[in-house]
């Protein structure tokens, strides 16, 4: 079809492991664009800035521009700026990428990097708090520690302190059989200590779509959401009234989708895709013909 836009999810859909593209994926994306489709990359990963993503996508053969990439580092900064209208600093449990995206929209942060525990219990409970901090933001952080958990909790006991998380993914893709805890684990730790729930920015929350739509004038009726996870990608599509396409090169299976469909539970129907393909490469013949 002519016109319209397509949104594609990055992890597991276009990239079959951390460092290589799903065979045929770059051609599909590039052909879609040549055919006049708008293509956006939407990912819950918070460890890269938009620029870092474009660099990575380019190396793998994807024709991508910075303003087409929506990761949670960028979207969290946008959320704080445009929705929360935050004035004040952020206590950030997250990556340098998150710090960069925040500074790019004029938000200052404190907390990124290693933070080891020193002193005694009374020192930790009385850890000095920056009075300018008005929000706690939690993303993926390999430097996560008890001290960071403690600081976040102390800030969150203050009235009026906002609480934002990038996403709730439980695990990162397995590396050599190892399980790497996802942002969802870190967020749950902070939520439990603080006895408060965070507002999450990433899929399936509709904010990432709102971000795309507000910048590019997108018509949901003319959108297709392509992803590999039912609980994030497909759910996002359903939440925003988009058509959804599941690719089977990643996390979720057809059996998973059928289980949701047969469950009879209204909430789970949002995780049933409209269509599915084995791989995004199956779109090639339609684009080349």
């Amino acid at each position: 079809e002519s016109g319209g836009s397509t949104r594609a999810s990055v992890k597991g859909d276009l990239l079959d492991s951390v460092d290589s593209a799903v065979p045929g994926a770059p051609q599909v994306i590039n052909l879609l664009k040549e055919n006049g489709k708008k293509v956006f990359f939407v990912t819950n990963n918070s460890t890269k800035t938009r620029k870092m993503y474009v660099d990575k996508l380019s190396v793998l053969g994807f024709n991508a521009k910075e303003d087409e990439v929506f990761g949670t580092a960028y979207c969290s900064a946008m959320y704080l700026k445009t929705v929360c209208k935050l004035e004040g600093k952020v206590y950030l449990i997250g990556s340098n990428a998150m710090r960069e995206e925040m500074e790019a929209v004029g938000l200052q942060q404190t907390g990124v990097g290693p933070d080891h525990v020193l002193g005694k219990q009374t020192d930790w409970a009385n850890v000095p708090l920056d009075p300018e901090v008005k929000a706690v933001v939690v993303g993926f952080d390999e430097h996560f520690s008890y001290m960071k958990l403690n600081r976040a909790m102390q800030y969150l006991t203050q009235p009026g302190c906002l609480f934002v998380g990038t996403n709730r993914d439980t695990r990162l893709p397995l590396e050599g059989g190892k399980a790497v805890p996802g942002t969802g684990c870190l967020l749950q730790a902070v939520e439990t200590a603080a006895q408060r729930q965070a507002q999450t920015v990433g899929k399936p929350n509709h904010f990432m779509f709102d971000c795309v739509a507000s910048q590019f004038g997108v018509d949901p009726d003319r959108c297709l959401m392509v992803g590999d996870r039912l609980d994030t990608d497909i759910m996002l599509g359903s939440n925003c009234g988009l058509k959804t396409l599941l690719t089977l090169t990643g996390v979720s299976t057809v059996a998973d989708a059928e289980a949701h469909q047969k469950s009879g539970c209204a909430e789970r129907q949002g995780m049933v895709p409209d269509y599915y393909v084995e791989s995004i490469a199956e779109l090639l013949p339609a684009l080349q013909g």
């Binding site: 009385n126 050599g176 399980a179 805890p181 996802g182 749950q188 439990t192 200590a193």
Partner: protein, 312 residues
């Protein structure tokens, strides 16, 4: 206490005396009940010493897993509780060691996320623990995993790092590896009124990454009562009174074990919360409602004064 659900009964002198006449075993939580940090609650030492001298079996049941029992004995002494001995102390770390040794009869190593106090209790019980490697640059992608890890035990761990969470998550992928928690308290109060993240927050992180639920050793689980009962060659719940300050741990523990419960208001929980649970439509919340309430453990003192000190 079957029958009409009342709960939250505030009691004083003569009523406390009657209650004590009916109970042989007094189970006491520590933080917020008999002391705040390094400061004993006024009158608490006198109450405890009096209970012991009046022939009651007094045991201390605490979820605090940061120190070994020997250290607790010293603390009791320091704060004026002079009659307390090691065998009266039941901490979640001590009971975790008992659980691994006597219930699980663990063969293989335990991966521990916790303080030195917890490790010492495990060492004393002869439980092999994975040694912490000290490589500061190690990441989950290149670190070695210990062989033969048959349990992950999580407690209050101020040295918690992402790497430890990742290692624990890896070990928990084996369904034969147990997932144990000393306790599930989300936060702990300090004497200043400030709080610190508790074991519960680390457990929550691992439950998300592993998709598994931890087996909790400490209150409100029954296991610590089973340890007590086993040490005293059988304890009749009807003869027991559990005194604590936290509804979600102490009162629920008492309820789970069939004990009468008493809330003291010198700690975490407020009377309003107890009343909220009592008025709740969810009957499960009724288990968090104390049978009795006192402002402070010192409210026991008049009960003893009327009896007079017994001759030793």
């Amino acid at each position: 206490m079957a029958g009409a659900f009342k709960g939250c009964q505030k009691i004083r002198g003569p009523q406390i005396r009657n209650l004590l006449d009916a109970k042989d075993f007094i189970l006491l939580d520590c933080d917020g009940v008999i002391w705040h940090g390094e400061k004993a609650i006024t009158g608490a030492a006198k109450v405890v010493n009096s209970l012991i001298r009046h022939g009651k079996n007094v045991v201390f049941v605490t979820n605090n897993c940061t120190r070994p029992r020997e250290n607790y004995v010293h603390k009791f002494c320091r704060l004026g509780f002079t009659d307390v001995i090691l065998e009266q102390i039941f901490s979640s770390s001590y009971c975790s060691a008992l659980y691994l040794r006597d219930v699980v009869k663990i063969r293989g190593q335990v991966f521990v996320m916790g303080c030195d106090g917890l490790r010492r209790e495990l060492d004393e019980a002869g439980i092999p623990c994975v040694e912490e490697a000290d490589d500061p640059d190690a990441t989950i992608y290149d670190c070695a995993l210990a062989p033969d890890v048959k349990a992950v035990l999580v407690g209050h761990d101020d040295k918690m790092t992402f790497l430890k969470l990742a290692k624990a998550s890896c070990y928990l992928r084996d369904p034969d590896c147990l997932f144990l928690a000393t306790d599930n308290d989300p936060w702990h109060p300090l004497s200043s009124g400030r709080i610190l993240p508790g074991s519960g927050s680390l457990i929550a992180a691992l439950e998300v990454s592993s998709g598994r639920k931890a087996t909790v050793i400490g209150k409100p689980s029954r296991f610590m009562f089973e340890c007590i009962s086993s040490q005293f060659s059988g304890v009749d719940p009807a003869q027991c009174l559990m005194i604590g300050d936290r509804l979600e741990t102490d009162m629920l523990f008492g309820s789970n074990c069939g004990l009468d419960t008493m809330l003291t208001l010198t700690g975490v929980s407020q009377i309003e919360k107890a009343q909220e649970y009592r008025n709740s439509e969810l009957t499960t919340n009724h288990s968090l409602v104390p049978d009795y309430v006192v402002d402070t453990i010192a409210d026991f003192l008049p009960a003893f004064e009327e009896l007079g000190e017994p001759s030793n």
